[in-house]
Amino acid sequence: MSDITASTPTLHGGSPARSAPITAVGPIAWVRANLFSGWLSTAVTLVLGYLIVRAVMGFVDWAFVNAIWSVPVNGNGVAQTQACRELHGTGACWAVVTEKHRFMLFGTYPFEQHWRPALVCLLFVALYIVSSMRSFWNWRLIPIWAGTLTAIGILMWGGVLGLPYVPQERWGGLPITLILATFGLAFAFPLSILVALGRRSNLPAIKALCVLYVELIRGVPLISLLFMASVMFPLFLPEGMNIDKLLRAQIAIILFAGAYLAEVVRAGLQSLPKGQYEAADAMGLSYWQKTGLIILPQALRTVIPPLVNTFIGFFKDTSLVLIIGIFDLLTAGKTAIVEPSWQGFGVEVYVFVGLIYLVFCFAMSKYSQGLEAELNRHRRR
C-alpha cells in the first residue's frame, strides 16, 4: 500500500485511486515524525546533518577528488612521491596501494608466481561458499575440504607438477591470514566440542584435564602463547630439529581458539533443559548417539551468535603473528610503508587492509545472521 511513491498522485492528477496525504505516510511523514518533531529534535537533526555532510564531503574530497592514484617510478625502482607529499594530507595517496598492492596481498612470495597465492585465496573463498551451503552439509564436505586443502598445499609449496618449490618463509599476505584463520578454526572447533563435552563429563580425570586446559589457556594472552611457540618452544627441541614457524604459530592459535570456543559450546550445552538429556536416555540412546543426535544440534544452534563472534575475533587476532615475524596481511601492509619514499602514507595502507578484513568479517556476520534466522525458525513467535 505504502510503496506507491509520494509524488505519484500529483503526476497523475485525476487518477482514480488517491493515496493518503504525503504528510501522513511515506518518507516525508517519516522524516517529520522522527527528525523534525520539535524544535530540539530539529536542531539536533540540523547540527548532526551538517556534521555528517561535512565529514562525508571531507572524506570524498580526500579519498577521491584530491587523491593521487599513481606516481612515476624512476629507473632504480624508487617511487617519486613528491606529488603525494605536496598534498599535505588533503588527498589520499592511493599510489602506495597501486604500487604495493601485490606485496601487501602476497608478501615476499616470488613475484612471477603470484598467480599461485591468488588462486589459493580464490580456493579459500570457494571453500567458504561451498561450506556455507546447507545442501553440502553431509559427508561430501569431508572430501571437498581434504581435496581443497591439498590443492592449496600443493599450490603454496609447489615442488611438484612443474611448480617451483617455495619455502614457507616466503609466504605472506592474505594467504597467511586465510591459512591461519581457516586451519585455526577448522581444528579448534572440533577440539572445542570435545573439550566442552569433557568438561561436563562424569569421568573425573577427563573433566580435570579439560578444566585445566581451558583455564590455563584462557589465563594467558594469545601474544604470550605465540611467544612461547616462537621463542621458548624451539629451545626445547633437540639440536638441528626445527618445526616450521608458521606451524608453531598455527598450533598456538588452534589451542587458544579451542579454549575460547569450548566455553561458548559449553554455554550451549548448559542452556539445554535437562529433559532433553533424560528423554534421550529414556530412548536408550548411547552417549555418542545422544550427543550427536539430540544434544549438539540444539546446543550449537543456540550459540551461533557467540560462535561467530569468536570466529570474527580470531580472524582478526591472526594479525598478532606480526610479533613473531610472519608476514600476514597486516604485517605486509606495515612493511610496505617502511620504504623511505612511502613513509607517511600509513592511512591509505590501513584503509586498504581494513577493507579486506571488513569484507571477510562482514560476510561472516551476515551469513551467521541468516543461519541463525533459518535454524531458529521454529522458535520465532
Binding site: 604500487e99 613475484f111 615475524g325 612493511t335 620504504e339
Partner: protein
C-alpha cells in the same frame, strides 16, 4: 718412585698402541689434507652445504637495512651481507632464504638453529657476545643515538637541550640511553614517549617536541624524506655506541671466520679501489695484496673453506663495501661518517691484511 716403576711396564704398551694409531692417522691424513688444506670441521657450514642454501635472519622491515621491495625481493645493507656469504659459498646471491625476525625472537631464531646467521642491525654488546652465546663477526655499521631538531631552533649542540621536550620511542635501549645521558649531562628534559615510528615522527614534525632522538641512521632516513630536509638538523652529539654487525652461534669459528673475512674482504676491495666493474680485470694488477685478495696467489680462500676467488665473486655481484653502502644507505640520506674507511679522517672501517 718405587710405585711408579711398578706401573711402568703398562705404559709403553698404551703409548705404543697410541703411537700406532697416530701413525695410521698420519698416513691417512695427507691424502685428505691435500684435497682440502684446512678441511673445515664446521657443523653450520656442513649443514648449509648439505641444504644448498644459507638461512639468514633479517629485520622484518627497516629502511635501507632490510626490507622487501614492491616485488617481494629482499633488499638492503644487512641483506647484502647475507647475499655475500651465499655468493662466497655457492657463487649465487639467490641461494639465501630470508627469515624475518622481530626484536623479540631474533636471538632464539639463531640459538635454536632456525637461522644460520643473524644479519639484523644488532648491537654488539658484551652480554650478547658471552651469555647469549653468539659471535659477532665484525662491525659492518657504526651507529649511535643522536638528536634531530628543527633548524629554526638554532640549537647547535645537544647540551643546549636543557628543558626541551624530546620525542622518543619506548621499549628499546633508546629511551634508557636518553635518560642516562641526561642524568650524566645534568640536563632536564620532558620525554614524549610514542610507540610507533610514524606517529613519533609526526609528533616531532607538528612541533609537539623540540627534538627527536633515535639512532643516527634512523634520523638521517627520516630527514631525507621530508619535503625540505634542510629545515632539520642532526646534532653532532652521539650519545651511545651502537656497533651493528652480523652474528653467528658461538663455537663455530670456521663459520664466523668466513663471515668476518667476507666483511674484511669488502673493506679491502674498497681500500684497493676494486669495484664490481674493475675487480674482473684485477688479474693484471701488480700489487701482491690485490693478487692475494682475488685468490691468484696464496691459498686464503681455501683456508676459509671456500673457493680462492670468493672475493672476486662477491665483489663482482654486490660491489665493495662502499658500493653496498651507496646502493642501500646513501639514498636514504645516511652519510659515510664513521663508516668511511680508516684512510679518510674520521673513518673507523679498518680491515686486517689479507695474507
Amino acid at each position: 718412585m718405587g710405585r711408579s716403576s711398578v706401573k711402568q711396564p703398562v705404559r709403553p704398551t698404551v703409548l705404543r698402541s697410541l703411537a700406532a694409531a697416530l701413525l695410521a692417522m698420519a698416513v691417512s691424513l695427507p691424502a685428505t689434507a691435500q684435497q682440502q688444506p684446512a678441511a673445515p670441521a664446521s657443523v653450520t657450514l656442513d649443514a648449509i652445504r648439505a641444504r644448498g642454501t644459507l638461512i639468514c635472519g633479517v629485520n622484518t622491515g627497516l629502511a635501507g637495512f632490510a626490507q622487501p621491495d614492491s616485488q617481494g625481493v629482499w633488499r638492503g645493507f644487512d641483506v647484502d651481507y647475507c647475499r655475500a656469504v651465499a655468493i662466497a659459498l655457492f657463487n649465487d646471491p639467490d641461494k639465501v632464504r630470508f627469515v624475518p625476525t622481530t626484536a623479540q625472537n631474533r636471538f632464539t631464531a639463531l640459538q635454536s638453529g632456525e637461522v644460520d646467521i643473524l644479519s639484523r642491525n644488532t648491537t654488539w654488546t658484551l652480554s650478547r657476545d658471552t651469555s647469549l652465546g653468539f659471535d659477532f663477526a665484525g662491525i659492518t655499521f657504526y651507529d649511535g643515538q643522536g638528536f634531530m631538531v628543527k633548524a629554526s631552533l638554532g640549537v647547535r649542540s645537544a647540551r643546549e637541550l636543557d628543558g626541551a621536550t624530546i620525542c622518543v620511542q619506548p621499549g628499546t635501549t633508546t629511551e634508557q640511553n636518553l635518560t642516562d645521558w641526561a642524568r650524566a649531562a645534568r640536563i632536564r628534559f620532558q620525554p614524549v614517549v610514542i610507540e610507533r615510528l610514524e606517529e613519533v615522527v609526526n609528533a616531532y614534525l607538528s612541533g609537539r617536541c623540540d627534538a627527536f632522538t633515535t639512532d643516527v641512521s634512523g634520523l638521517a632516513a627520516t630527514r631525507a624524506v621530508q619535503p625540505r630536509p634542510a629545515e632539520h638538523v642532526i646534532l653532532p652529539d652521539v650519545i651511545s655506541k651502537e656497533p651493528l654487525g652480523p652474528l653467528v652461534r658461538h663455537g663455530d669459528q670456521r663459520f664466523s671466520d668466513l663471515v668476518r673475512w667476507i666483511h674484511f674482504g669488502l673493506l679491502t676491495a674498497e681500500e684497493f679501489g676494486l669495484t664490481s666493474q674493475t675487480i674482473g680485470q684485477a688479474a693484471g694488477d701488480a700489487r701482491p695484496d690485490v693478487q692475494r685478495l682475488i685468490g691468484r696467489s696464496g691459498d686464503l680462500g681455501r683456508m676459509l673453506g671456500v673457493d680462492n676467488a670468493f672475493m672476486v665473486n662477491v665483489v663482482t655481484r654486490l660491489g665493495n663495501y662502499g658500493q653496498i653502502f651507496e646502493r642501500n644507505l646513501t639514498p636514504i640520506g645516511i652519510q659515510r661518517g664513521p663508516n668511511a674507511l680508516w684512510t679518510t679522517p674520521g673513518g673507523l672501517q679498518y680491515a686486517p691484511p689479507f695474507r
